[in-house]
Symmetry: C3
Subunit: 231 residues, 3 copies
């Protein structure tokens, strides 16, 4: 960001001040989310929106904040499916330099084929039946791939804890304005251990990186989901 | 993609494996859409989202898969209106190199002013009356331009068959998450010859390039449109 | 654009002709919005969508069309909050070169901390109470930041007139497809002096820069807002 901040001054002293103040010394100091989680949320938002200009700073910061190289790698892999292949490829082109500078070795990265986390068969059956009932007749390929590639494969990879996988998924959804897909994934996130305070704070954090309008649209959905959950 | 794939390995061996496996040897081998159509769908998705990093590979692949230079040119022109002028300009900056390398000549490109395809006057009258009734009082410029520039001009250009013009339009809408505009254009696509199987498969294909959330939001709309159509 | 137009010809003579004709000699000549306002609308749309390829041309054109450097600077600052921090940073990286070429001096830019415009306390109380009632329980950080950073700070900065701040906000919302957030900001824009004709023409203008589908989704919302307002 320093390089970027030096560029900001000759364009907007106010934006420089807001960046140092309300963003870096304000938002990032709030305790409702750990800095490590804030980094994951930020990385997800940047990838979801192909905001490449901030990726070098935030990928490096994520590693400084305790995100493991394997977790950053797996976040990119995960978002290939949730944000789009080219979004992930844009992240790859930045991450390869960050990893190279830090001397990240191939054996630190999650293997292509890994052992799998245990499946919650009951929840998965429920999900698969519900999706199939709605969509199998008209988009059978999507339904099949969703089961085979996402829920029986990607989500079971141990390189990113289910709670963190949910964290980056929800963050990407908010950042991309995909409100309709938030309820399922926020519920799943909370089953995976995300707290209500953290959920609210993700929205607050993403407001800065994806703009207030996306945050407000998401806030209304998050409120509905949280209020419907058993206390 | 080879250049890109070599970059992927030091960041995510898993993403490299998914790209070679489920994407290139999975999705692209499915027979519900021809590879030529898959290329048009992919190109439209990339332009709709300004995913420039994948454009060089996929523009070249589109030509290899049977998309004519004139059709790629016209797809970019079409998406200036449907995705935004700067989206088209981003595509131009990539396509000019691809065309140059292939020795594409000016006379292979659609002329600025071309003869026009026959107009379905009845359908156009119906569309124009419906849009005007809704929007002429508050956004008269938009209503007039929609008639003059889109439906009495762009859509009648012969450089892209109406069915293919619909294909790229629907793909761009799904990729950009513009669900509200899908029903009109999917109906039009099917009037123009797209099949229900192809419609469903566009959603499956775009899932990979624009992310699962956009595909799921679109799938619900596609289902509604397909179920309402006369069998 | 000239540089860009030379690149367009070898890819699409039609797009070159549309750019010179219906866009630059058509849309931009319509009198429903001043060229200075059209520049603000365009700049906001480009930043909202990170359409960097057109930024150098349109940032320079905005200055030619009477947008002051301080206003362009403040538009970027404003959109950090409304479009996302990285969107603003992408604009900064272009604007710094444009400002440098024009010899824009630091003292021409809005200061980081400025005197504030008078607050409409009644309207702000109403807004704050309504937002808090809905969202304070689940996203308290967002609610607090919205009050402190946006409505008691950013919106009161004199570097951009409230009417122009509304103009760029509404333009960014339309360009990003954020229909749900248009009603509040369009109402506010009209309280700040935007006319109904201008509101409709913003939609027409953004159609070209963010694509017809975003314009159509916005047009339906704009119609509702305009029809509900007292005549």
């Amino acid at each position: 960001m320093q390089g970027t901040l030096d560029e900001v001054r000759p364009v907007s002293p106010a934006l420089e001040a807001y960046t140092k103040g309300v963003l870096l010394n304000g938002l990032w100091k709030r305790t409702e989310l750990s800095v490590r989680d804030r980094s994951l949320v930020t990385v997800a938002a940047l990838i979801a929106r192909i905001q490449t200009i901030e990726m070098p700073f935030h990928f490096a910061l994520a590693l400084d904040n305790g995100v493991k190289p394997a977790e950053l790698s797996e976040t990119i892999t995960h978002l290939a499916f949730y944000s789009g292949w080219a979004n992930a490829m844009s992240a790859v082109s930045v991450a390869k330099d960050v990893f190279h500078k830090r001397g990240v070795k191939q054996e630190q990265l999650p293997p292509a084929k890994d052992k799998t986390l245990p499946l919650n068969q009951e929840a998965e059956d429920k999900r698969a039946v519900s999706v199939a009932a709605n969509l199998a007749a008209t988009t059978p390929g999507l339904v099949q791939n969703t089961t085979d590639l996402l829920f029986l494969d990607l989500w079971l990879r141990p390189a990113l804890a289910p709670r963190d996988r949910s964290l980056v998924t929800v963050s990407a959804l908010i950042a991309a304005g995909q409100s309709a897909q938030i309820p399922y994934h926020l519920d799943r996130a909370m089953e995976n251990g995300l707290t209500a305070v953290e959920a609210g704070e993700i929205v607050t954090h993403v407001a800065f990186y994806a703009g207030w309008p996306n945050a407000f649209s998401a806030a209304a959905v998050v409120k509905d989901v949280l209020e419907k959950r058993p206390k």
